[in-house]
């Protein structure tokens, strides 16, 4: 067991529990985007930054990838933490101004219009779809291409991949709702064998699903 302080409370958690999981169990809010409970955490979006003090050293860490350490102190709401989260969220909103989840987070964290020229990207590059395809589906049909701001989620060499089984998991887990199956099919890159696998529209929820 690990015992540590979070804000004004003492939390006791199992060894290996991350700071984020401990906070969620205790009902303490830490914003996240690239975190998914079913997937390996990668610490990409950096919205979950918290202040961690341990053995006389204090710094900022990503809660989703930092294991809770016995005797440490975590603060989730300091002015510095808020300042970091504000900039990170502004940067994301400037990249994807149309993505609803960012605007919702903005309202919750008090972050409005970003002070940068707006782009119009649909994808946050959080990588949840890539991880789900690898870890849950086992297909590894998509990955990151290029690097830096030019990064994109694509099948290898940007050609339709026979590894894609058109399961639609990527569309379901996407927090930005970037992949709608119908659109994906129209783009024709995500679903390599879409000719062979028919998708149907659910009459209740209007979502697409695979029939085979």
């Amino acid at each position: 067991m690990v015992s540590f302080r979070m804000n004004r409370r003492t939390l006791k958690v199992e060894d290996g529990t991350t700071v984020l999981e401990a906070a969620r169990d205790a009902g303490i809010y830490i914003p996240t985007l690239c975190y998914h409970p079913a997937l390996e955490s990668v610490g990409a979006c950096r919205l979950c930054m918290v202040e961690l003090s341990h053995r006389g050293r204090t710094g900022h860490v990503a809660a989703c990838v930092t294991p809770a350490v016995d005797g440490s102190t975590v603060k989730t709401d300091t002015p510095a933490v808020k300042r970091i989260r504000k900039t990170v969220l502004e940067l994301l909103i400037a990249r994807c101004p149309e993505v609803a989840i960012l605007r919702e987070l903005g309202e919750r964290l008090g972050v409005g219009e970003p002070p940068y020229p707006l782009e119009n990207e649909a994808c946050l590059l959080c990588g949840i779809c890539v991880r789900a395809c690898r870890e849950i589906v086992g297909a590894e049909a998509i990955g990151f291409a290029e690097r830096g701001a030019a990064s994109e989620v694509l099948p290898p060499f940007a050609v339709p991949s026979a590894r894609c089984i058109s399961c639609g998991t990527c569309t379901t887990v996407c927090p930005a709702r970037t992949f709608e199956l119908s659109k994906v099919d129209a783009v024709g890159t995500m679903h390599g064998d879409s000719d062979d696998v028919r998708t149907r529209k659910c009459v209740v929820c209007d979502e697409h699903y695979t029939s085979s």
């Binding site: 990668v42 610490g43 990503a62 940067l91 990249r95 830096g148």
Partner: protein
């Protein structure tokens, strides 16, 4: 670059009786202390016998037969050697962590990081090219100390000669029984292979480097777990820079005590720097830690050429910091550089004179880092891009009030929230130039003036009619025919055609009959 006048003056200063001066009497070499570079230029790197003849591979038997692995680790700890790749983590402690780590599969690895990608830096390349066996010997000793049976040299493919030298050195060492099974009959097995990197700057970061060796995309991952616990293929892995490895044979041979006698309280030994930029003597230098910047730039480097005024030094590569003239007496070690807002980095030192615009400099380094950001985490990917946009606006005369504060705000988030060392240090060039040259930023933003007269959007070239002799040199060099005027008559610059390349200014200053008849406004 040396100007012709520098060359003649240095020749003249030699006493006529000296047919050939000793190396150590030359200013460039006088205060250097060569440890990692001990064999520089003295041996043929393609011949292992030459390395052995100069005392090479003497530390290895000592480490194999006269010392226990624990004693090797202790010796390195005593030496106070710190990682030469940039972060400066104590090497002995790193080795101890890897030595004590449990490996599920029984394998442990050591890696030599030669993914040197800083603009203007060539320490690792030169070491691998000039003395590959020193690096190999260090790796075998380290592997013995940590119980590793396999090693990798990760070297960028843009260094083809270094790749050839280290590959050949491995073959020769294997032939001599210095690598492979049962090294020197000691029962210790250790193999090394070369992995050629694709040239991504971020692959110098240890977790990205390991991903690249494993064949995955070169992107960093969060730590913990640290490589010493879970590195290559989940096994304990120790990664050290080329220069760190090259120091190991010296330390084992002459003792950690001896090594720790060199340098400062917290930073022991010597450090290689690549001294480049606006300095008379450019090249690799190795000096004891704690030498002042003044000694490095003026005594070894010979000062700034063409009589220009020294302005600053960029230390630690693109994510290092800019140290101004007021701190020229700073003793160079890990702590002092950090206090000044810079980093040791792998040892790049770029000297700048008064003709360097600090905002433009920051923009250059930030653009480099923008291209090299892997794109995984938001602050580094999006934040550096925004910094570059703002800096570009400032140098192109579109800066607005609040830009400097916006840069500082971005810098804070990028530094605090980025996933790996690339992002955490990326704002350094911006932060240090703002800290020491804020007036230059303000001049660009508020008055649309570039004090160093570099930013093209803010300058114009003009002819001083009274000085111009009409020699036509400028007319000839202008690539866009923007300068006109008959011979012997003052010339004229057509500002609509002028692309501000500066060719006329340069030729008028140094080669024209009049000299200095063109000025930048």
């Amino acid at each position: 670059m040396k100007s012709p006048s520098d060359r003649t003056s240095s020749r003249k200063s030699l006493p006529e009786t000296d047919v050939c001066p000793e190396l150590a009497s030359l200013g460039f070499f006088k205060s250097q202390r060569l440890l990692a570079l001990r064999h520089r230029g003295l041996l043929n790197p393609e011949e292992i016998d030459e390395y052995i003849a100069l005392g090479g591979y003497a530390a290895l038997p000592k480490a194999l037969f006269d010392m226990t692995p624990e004693e090797i680790v202790d010796e390195v700890k005593t030496s106070g050697l710190r990682g030469r790749g940039g972060a400066g983590f104590p090497t002995g402690i790193k080795w101890e962590l890897a030595r004590n780590a449990e490996s599920k599969s029984g394998s442990k690895y050591v890696v030599c990081n030669a993914d040197e990608g800083d603009p203007g830096a060539f320490m690792d390349r030169s070491l691998l090219e000039a003395d590959p066996h020193a690096v190999l010997e260090g790796m075998v000793i380290g592997a013995r100390a940590m119980g590793a049976s396999e090693g990798f040299v990760y070297v960028r493919d843009e260094y083809p000669h270094a790749v050839r030298m280290i590959t050949r050195a491995i073959e020769q060492a294997e032939d001599y029984g210095l690598l492979g099974s049962d090294i020197l009959g000691s029962d210790f097995d250790f193999r090394v292979s070369v992995v050629r990197g694709g040239g991504a700057f971020v692959c110098g970061e240890e977790t990205a480097l390991m991903a690249s060796i494993e064949g995955r995309e070169g992107r960093p991952r969060p730590r913990p777990p640290y490589p010493s616990q879970s590195g290559l293929w989940g096994c304990p892995t120790n990664i050290n820079n080329v220069e760190t490895w090259a120091n190991i044979p010296c330390i084992v041979e002459r003792g950690g005590e001896w090594y720790s006698g060199i340098g400062t309280k917290e930073s022991k030994g010597t450090k290689i720097f690549s001294l480049v930029g606006k300095v008379v003597n450019t090249g690799l230098i190795e000096v004891p830690m704690g030498m002042t910047l003044r000694e490095i730039v003026f005594d070894i480097g010979g000062g700034v050429p063409r009589g220009r005024k020294f302005k600053a030094v960029q230390s630690g590569g693109p994510s290092g910091g800019c140290i101004p003239e007021s701190l020229i007496d700073l003793p160079v070690d890990y702590e002092e550089l950090a206090k000044a807002g810079a980093i040791m980095g792998s040892g790049g030192l770029i000297v700048m004179d008064e003709d360097t615009c600090m905002v433009d400099l920051a923009r250059y380094f930030v653009s480099f880092l923008e291209e090299e950001s892997c794109g995984k985490c938001v602050p580094c990917r999006e934040g550096i891009k925004r910094m570059r946009e703002i800096l570009t606006d400032i140098v192109e005369a579109r800066g607005k009030e609040g830009d400097i504060e916006r840069l500082e705000e971005l810098a804070y988030a990028i530094k605090e929230a980025s996933l790996c060392g690339l992002g955490k240090t990326a704002p350094n060039p911006v932060l240090t130039t703002i800290r020491y040259f804020r007036d230059e930023y303000e001049s660009h933003v508020l008055h649309k003036r570039c004090p160093a007269k570099v930013c093209k959007a803010m300058i114009v070239y003009r002819v001083v009619p009274e000085r111009c002799t009409g020699c036509q040199r400028c007319v000839q060099v202008c690539p866009v025919n923007a300068i006109s005027g008959p011979r012997s008559q003052p010339h004229n610059v057509d500002l609509d055609k002028c692309i501000k390349c500066g060719a006329c200014y340069e030729i008028c200053k140094f080669d024209a009959i009049a000299g200095d008849a063109i000025y930048i406004e």
